[in-house]
Symmetry: C2
Amino acid sequence: MGKESANRKVSAFAPASIGNVAVGFDILGLALPMLGDIVEVSISSAGVTIEEITGLEVPLPSNPEKNTAGKALIEMIKGEKLDFGFSIKIKKGIPLGSGMGGSAASAVAAVVAANEFLTRKLNKEELFNYAVQGEAVASGVAHGDNVAPALFGGITLCLKQNLDRWKVVELPYPKDIYCTILHPHIVVETKMARAILQKDIALSKHIEQSSHLASFLVGLYNGDWDLLQGSVRDVIIEPQRSSLIPHFDLFKKVAWDTGCLGFSISGAGPSVFALSQGQTTAKSLLEKWQALKQKLSYNFDLWSCEIDCCGARLMDVND
Amino acid sequence: MGKESANRKVSAFAPASIGNVAVGFDILGLALPMLGDIVEVSISSAGVTIEEITGLEVPLPSNPEKNTAGKALIEMIKGEKLDFGFSIKIKKGIPLGSGMGGSAASAVAAVVAANEFLTRKLNKEELFNYAVQGEAVASGVAHGDNVAPALFGGITLCLKQNLDRWKVVELPYPKDIYCTILHPHIVVETKMARAILQKDIALSKHIEQSSHLASFLVGLYNGDWDLLQGSVRDVIIEPQRSSLIPHFDLFKKVAWDTGCLGFSISGAGPSVFALSQGQTTAKSLLEKWQALKQKLSYNFDLWSCEIDCCGARLMDVND
């Protein structure tokens, strides 16, 4: 770090994401462009200080050890043996506890911005390792299913190959896959959503779910809509969590009736999503869900969008 | 069928295969070139007659309804509304109950040979549908994990999308994947091997196994040895069946120590297999297993080979 960096501020944006994507619990994720977190980073003498967190109704912990962005930078300082620290401002664009990867987005935006201050710039794999350690603060265990798409964009497969070795693969996908997302105004804590999961499942469900995972992956590689159609389906985790989400069965039925590729819970919920072939189907679903809002007197946000192509990016650099 | 077909005989060969391939229970398979079944087909006035079954120590049922090749042709006659029947001779090259897909190979060879007598030649997808109905006679339920590779060759994904609709995908694979196979001289009945499976499994095992499946599939598409290494691993079915196979743990340890991509049971067993990057590793494993033969005073057959590229083929056509 040169002296000219002392007053420099760097901001990075990281997009929202859908974890699990129905078929890949803890390993699959996809990035969404319509929301994201922004983290502004500047240099401090040592450690990490969270100056400000905005965009929230409920406060987030400003103790950097308990904040995903803070913890990611603490690990970066340690791992890179930095002789300086970071001061950060977090602007949350992703609602807390929405199941849209906000914890991961903050951690990712923080490491991407902080990277600009390093003498040896880290590559995405290295940044991933710090961000995923940050994200673990929120979910209790390190998972990369939201961190990977927030950093890389697109649809990602994220595997823990050994204790400390992660492998992220950017999957190909047909360009006209569209996503429709519904975010009910309730909060589901990831830790709680994990705690309710039963320890055993039926072997038959495992076999069925393996088929869906294989269909989805091979469908993406081959651009085969026949394989993708119906593959976005979770017969294991979703039935255990759907009761946390009001009107879940109705939203699901409408999605399938609209002809989507599939429907499920985004991450630990309460947001739900559907993937569609083409914008028309995705928008048609959006309109049908929109119509339910008044009918049910139930409040939620809706988006219809393509998949975010590029993941986290710097917003501006001013010295 | 013209009159000139009356004395015509057509033979087809279908290769052995490995079902499940560790990560895709009931859905994945790969073809092996070193063994196969041959079925010779000629025309009869009606129905299916099994004239002869050779190559076996134990007799197979010659009632065509109970024989996989016979049943496949019965379904073909029905489905194609043929006004004639078939007479067949089966030459078994794949040991019965070896877990190397003999039931599927006979059914596949039969439909491939019989197809030569049809006025409208069937494509592979259509042939698959008849062969899989034949194979169901052996395993009790229709599974395509051996039928698909025996017919198409290579590594195949075979999914049952609806009650009667199958989808077979030929997966890409790096050309230097090699296979080492060990066939102990004991018999494991597929139906029995299915019956011992517990109905429930741990959720954690499902998640782990999903990672292996995803690693394997994406590793094949990307030709990524880093993903393939270690992915050929079954933490769900294998532990429940391995006790049926003498010295299983030893064979497994030697395979892993040799640096294979992975090791598991071929289909329902008792054969076991390992996949390797390159012929050298595959042969090295073959030699180490060979050395165990004398040491254990235990008899088994061994092969090391590449994956069969092309699946079932006609052997000769003589009018």
